[in-house]
């Protein structure tokens, strides 16, 4: 009879492990290239970023081995504990000295840990534990979005909302808008777990309204010879839309079917108007000036090829100048540490160095690699009998996907400039540890797929 360990080893998804190692090694080689200093050529020099990254990967692999050894059920049992401890860390970090205007680091010398990165792991575990414990209810697909529907949604799901809401609020207090945005990736999980598709539809509409609000909020226009603010304009547009719907309903809908539609219509109108005000308030209250500028740049409200948009322009120039086959290893002229034409080229803008040196061949390869990883995680998720593991897998997929989408999208000008790392690729201990543990736990849980029933 084979030992338990052998069995687990045999059921480990080596393809996932291979993808992990490939990304990590590509990442280290890329960091080495981007920060290369001829005075410190040693790959393992701990005073360099590549040296530190190797150290962090080593630590991550060590933790990975521990994860492989312990029992999967222990992970499930400890889920809320891990979550609780990480939330306490998120609270504790608010009492540290701010670095660059945010209280997000616990530092020891030149090493530091960002609890907000690890909090993602905690949220994954807690959400998986919570959702897997409630029976699958056939969520009624509400006919439309209305206030009563929202109230019901909140009251029946308050635990889910709390699990995600607490870290969201805590990271906003740091403030760390990037991590906050990543937390919205859990919508993907909720979607997969049968929560009404209407939520997504609702969110899509919300995003559109929010974007329009931000674009026009602080501009003004003349309507009927009266000067009014952009915000009022949106409200006016919403009211006109409501009127049009009202007329359409009166024209085309049978009388007995009208009341619920009216209710839905008035409900959405009120929610929309409140939301417009909330977005504007949040924009002016929570975001600091450079974040506002980033959003304004992305929305095209300000255009400034070498001023405020400096970073993103140089990032695009670095990527674009890579050409088809790239400039070659250590040949990036823009995205490298000694020139500093592109900022944060080993963390937030790491994709620039890669794309400049490897060209379209390399950048497309990396993008496809992430796509393969994501699809792979989805396929792993779908083969689980354990709901816990499936939910956890989707959490991992969502987080990887968001980081990938925003980081790469930012470099090529398709996403706002939000400084978050490229998973397993960017320099940074906390992020390497978090993404590694997410994958390792997934691999561990997956390896027990034949053992675990629920």
């Amino acid at each position: 009879m084979r030992g338990k360990e052998d069995k687990i080893l045999a059921d480990i998804d080596w393809a996932l492990v291979g993808l992990y190692l490939l990304l990590v090694i590509m990442g280290i080689s890329n960091i080495y290239s981007s920060v290369y200093d001829p005075m410190k050529p040693d790959l393992f020099d701990l005073s360099t970023e590549h040296g530190k990254q190797i150290m962090w990967v080593g630590i991550a692999l060590f933790l990975g081995v521990i994860v492989m050894i312990i029992d999967g059920s222990l992970i499930r049992k400890l889920s809320f504990w891990v979550y609780g401890v990480l939330m306490l860390l998120l609270v504790a970090v608010l009492f540290t000295e701010p670095i660059n205007g945010a209280r997000s680091w616990f530092g020891w010398g030149s090493f530091g840990v960002q609890p907000s990165e690890l909090a993602k792991l905690g949220a994954c575990l807690a959400l998986s534990a919570h959702l897997s414990n409630i029976p699958i209810t056939k969520n009624k697909l509400a006919p439309s979005i209305s206030i009563s529907y929202l109230v019901q949604l909140v009251s029946s799901n308050w635990k889910t909302i709390a699990i995600l809401g607490i870290p969201c609020v805590l990271v906003l207090l740091q403030p760390d808008a990037g991590t906050f945005i990543v937390f919205t990736s859990f919508i993907l999980v909720l979607y997969r777990e049968g929560y009404a598709g209407n939520i997504l539809l609702f969110l899509l509409v919300a995003v559109i309204i929010a974007v329009i609000t931000l674009i026009v909020a602080d501009s003004s226009f003349i309507f009927l010879k009266i000067k009014m603010s952009g915000k009022f304009g949106i409200v006016l547009a919403l009211l006109i839309m409501g009127l049009v719907f009202y007329l359409l309903i009166r024209q085309f809908v049978l009388k007995r079917n009208r009341p619920p539609l009216y209710r839905a219509m008035i409900g959405s109108l009120i929610v929309s108007i409140l939301f417009v005000n909330f977005v504007e308030w949040g924009y002016s209250t929570f975001l600091d000036d450079h974040q506002k500028e980033r959003i304004d740049l992305l929305l095209g409200k300000i255009e400034d090829p070498d001023g405020k948009g400096y970073n993103i322009n140089r990032a695009k120039a670095a990527i674009g100048s890579g050409g088809f086959a790239g400039k070659g290893y250590q040949q990036a002229t823009l995205a490298n540490a000694s020139q500093k034409h592109v900022p944060m080229q080993s963390t937030d803008f790491i994709f620039c160095t890669w794309s400049e040196e490897r060209g379209f061949l390399g950048s497309a390869f990396l993008v496809i690699l992430y796509s393969i990883l994501l699809i792979k995680i989805v396929s792993v998720a779908e083969r689980q009998r354990s709901r816990y593991t499936r939910i956890f897998a989707y959490c991992v997929a969502g987080i990887f996907f968001y980081h990938f989408m925003i980081n790469v999208g930012m470099g090529i000008g398709l996403a706002p400039v939000i400084g978050i790392p490229l998973p397993l690729f960017s320099y940074g201990g906390s992020s390497v540890l978090t993404f590694s543990l997410l994958l390792f736990i997934l691999i561990k849980l997956d390896s027990e797929r034949k053992v675990v029933l629920q």
Binding site: Y36, P38, M39, I136, K138, L188, Y191, R192, E193, G194, G197, N313, R314, K316, A317, A318, I319, G320, S321, G322, G323, F324, Q330, Q331, A332, T333, L334, N336, S338, Q339, H341, S355, G359, F360, S363, A364, V367, I368, Y370, S371, L374, I375, V378, A381, E382, Y394, A397, F401, F404, M405, V408, G409, I412, L414
Partner: protein
């Protein structure tokens, strides 16, 4: 349930779709669109600025006043230095302290190991001659040539001005300047900065990943050559300027010489002066500091930036205004009533010419009263208020206290008091005389050039030119020619005063008699056959010394033009603290006139007396007991 399981396909679709969009976008950015490659080249190219030589400045006879000389900056590339280099010996070689050496070295290393940084700059060629043969022993260090100003004739320091590094306001005001550039800070260097500076050149290099220049960008397609600044010719007569500066040695004061027929400034001297070569190169800061500390104020341009009371020279204008206003005739006689204003002993002045010749204070007291109190109103106060504004208007037409459009920076205008001034600002803004609160009896000192009126030596030279021209002038200016450009039209437009030419004759006659007749106040200015016309003045001089108001020795003033009937030169001379105008200022003016008109000095005794005079110490009048 099945419905919900289908959602995995939607999620998978998103995971494929978004990366696909990214790949397409990347393909356009990296393969299709060349825009980003151009942007990258612009960002990573290294722009090397080549500096143009500045325009040469000549005097009116094409003698070089300002030229350029190659200076040397020493730069360092830290990673090319040898490890066993003797820092102490090197610091000694380039003549800096070991602390300065270390500081520069640290700055260089902080900036880049591979790129060059400045070590010392602006080493003059004679000092570099000692360094050059040793420099090869110190790998990593090399020299860069740079042109700086040199003054072959070390004269006219205040006129020519000096250059120093731009400050943040200069950079903000004009994007041409980058930190470390030089800019004209005063004098001609400042007023003709844009003409003289030329055009910078640019060379573009490409850099590799570690910042080493690899190639010319696009084979130098976008490179431009530096263009030397245009040279300019000044109206200054270097010979006369040099001679004047010799005469003004050991004296404090100013000399301005104009050509009346054109307004060209032949000479502008402020004494004590300094060697303009002191304010060039790496000793600029130190030398400037020392000149700043000097209590005789060698950096101050007394000719253009100082004002003095005009003293008795002002009487010329009083006479002209009175004649033009018709309040007197040229035969007008006033008694020398010493109880009103002090005077010296002289025969009674029987006419304007006599009054000017004898410089009788009471004469001009009465004469000016006729201008101010014309008797048009019953009230003396209303009468004076109207009269003073007429008077002030005349003086402004003589260029006093107004912009003379001189092509020179930071010119200080004189001051002509008017009715508004006495109504609202004098004796103090908080407690002025008030409207109709004053009459001629309050302000009469102005009639003899003492009260509140102030003039600059440049303005007084212009007055001398107006006398020479019998009523008109041209704006005094320094520029004669600009290479490839015309000089401004304003300098060729005749500026008319409010006094008709015929009214000048009795006054000029008086000026001639000042110099030539017994009893004239400036007989020391007489040079046979030159027909110099002049007027002396003494400006009272107070200074607060140790908190007490001390009467200092008066400033000696003399303005003159010559020859009387075809004037070629107009002069104003101010000698601080030297007493009566006829004693020092008049002979200095006459020597300058003689030198300019004849090229030599006949009376060497007169010349030697001036050259030997030392009037530097500030003298305090002994207190009368």
């Amino acid at each position: 349930m099945k419905n919900i399981d289908n959602r995995k396909y939607i999620i998978a679709l998103i995971f494929i779709l978004i990366p696909l969009i990214f790949v397409i976008r990347l393909f356009f950015m990296q393969v299709v669109d060349d825009k980003w490659k151009e942007r990258a080249a612009q960002i990573s190219e290294n722009k090397v600025i080549t500096y143009p030589a500045r325009g040469i400045v000549y005097d009116r006879n094409k003698i070089k006043l300002i030229s350029n000389e190659v200076y040397y900056d020493i730069r360092v590339i830290p990673n090319q230095m040898s490890e066993d280099m003797d820092s102490f010996a090197f610091a000694k070689l380039i003549d800096i302290s070991i602390e300065d050496y270390e500081r520069q070295m640290n700055k260089a290393r902080d900036y880049s190991y591979r790129k060059s940084s400045e070590m010392v700059k602006q080493i003059p060629p004679d000092e570099f001659a000692d360094i050059a043969p040793e420099l090869y022993k110190y790998p990593g260090f090399y020299e860069v040539e740079r042109t700086l100003r040199i003054y072959p004739n070390p004269i006219a320091a205040h006129v020519l001005g000096y250059m120093s590094e731009v400050d943040s306001t200069n950079i903000k005001a004009d994007p041409y300047y980058k930190s470390g550039d030089l800019i004209g800070k005063s004098g001609i260097e400042k007023s003709y900065e844009k003409v003289l500076r030329g055009k910078k050149g640019v060379k573009y290099y490409l850099q590799d990943a570690i910042g080493v220049e690899t190639d010319r960008y696009e084979n130098g397609k976008y490179d431009t050559l530096a263009e030397q600044g245009s040279s300019i010719t000044l109206t200054i007569d270097a010979e006369l300027q040099k001679y004047g500066e010799r005469l003004m040695q050991n004296k404090r004061g100013s000399v301005v010489v104009l050509e009346p027929s054109s307004g060209e400034i032949l000479t502008m001297i402020s004494s004590p002066t300094y060697d303009p070569n002191l304010l060039v190169g790496r000793r600029l800061g130190q030398n400037y500091g020392e000149l700043m500390k000097d209590t005789t104020l060698p950096l101050q341009n007394r000719s253009a930036n100082s004002t003095y009371p005009p003293g008795s020279t002002f009487k010329l204008l009083m006479a002209l205004i009175a004649l033009q206003e018709g309040v007197i005739t040229e035969e007008a006689s006033f008694p020398c009533t010493k109880s009103l204003v002090g005077c010296h002993n002289h025969p009674t002045a029987r006419g304007v010419s006599d009054g000017v010749k004898m410089s009788c204070n009471p004469y001009f007291y009465y004469l000016t009263r006729k201008i101010i109190q014309q008797g048009k109103h019953k009230s003396h106060f209303v009468d004076a208020a109207e009269g003073l504004d007429i008077w002030a208007k005349y003086l402004k037409s003589f260029g006093l206290g107004v912009d003379l459009k001189t092509d020179f920076p930071a010119i200080r205008y004189g001051f002509v008091p008017n009715t508004n001034f006495y109504d609202n600002e004098f004796p103090s803004k908080s407690n002025p005389y008030g409207k109709y609160g004053w009459a001629y009896s309050t302000i009469y000192s102005n009639s003899i050039g003492q009260g509140e009126v102030l003039v600059s030596p440049l303005e007084m030279a212009n007055i001398a030119a107006i006398m020479a021209n019998r009523g008109h002038f041209y704006y005094p200016h320094f520029i004669k020619e600009i290479e490839g450009q015309d000089i401004p039209d304003i300098y060729t437009i005749k500026q008319k005063t409010m006094v008709e030419p015929e009214n000048f004759e009795p006054v000029i006659d008086g000026m001639w008699r000042v110099v030539h007749e017994p009893g004239g106040t400036a007989r020391r200015a007489r040079v046979d056959s030159l027909n110099i016309c002049g007027k002396t003045g003494t400006a009272e001089n107070f200074k607060i010394i140790n908190g007490k108001r001390e009467q200092l020795v008066d400033h000696s003033i003399f303005i003159a033009f010559a020859p009387k009937d075809d004037p070629k030169i107009a002069v104003s001379v101010y000698i601080e603290n030297s007493g009566f105008g006829g004693t020092w200022a008049a002979p200095i003016a006459s020597l300058l006139i003689e030198k300019y008109l004849t090229g030599a000095i006949a009376d060497t005794n007169k010349e030697n007396r001036i050259l030997e005079a030392d009037l530097m110490p500030i003298k305090v009048v002994p207190k009368k007991k």
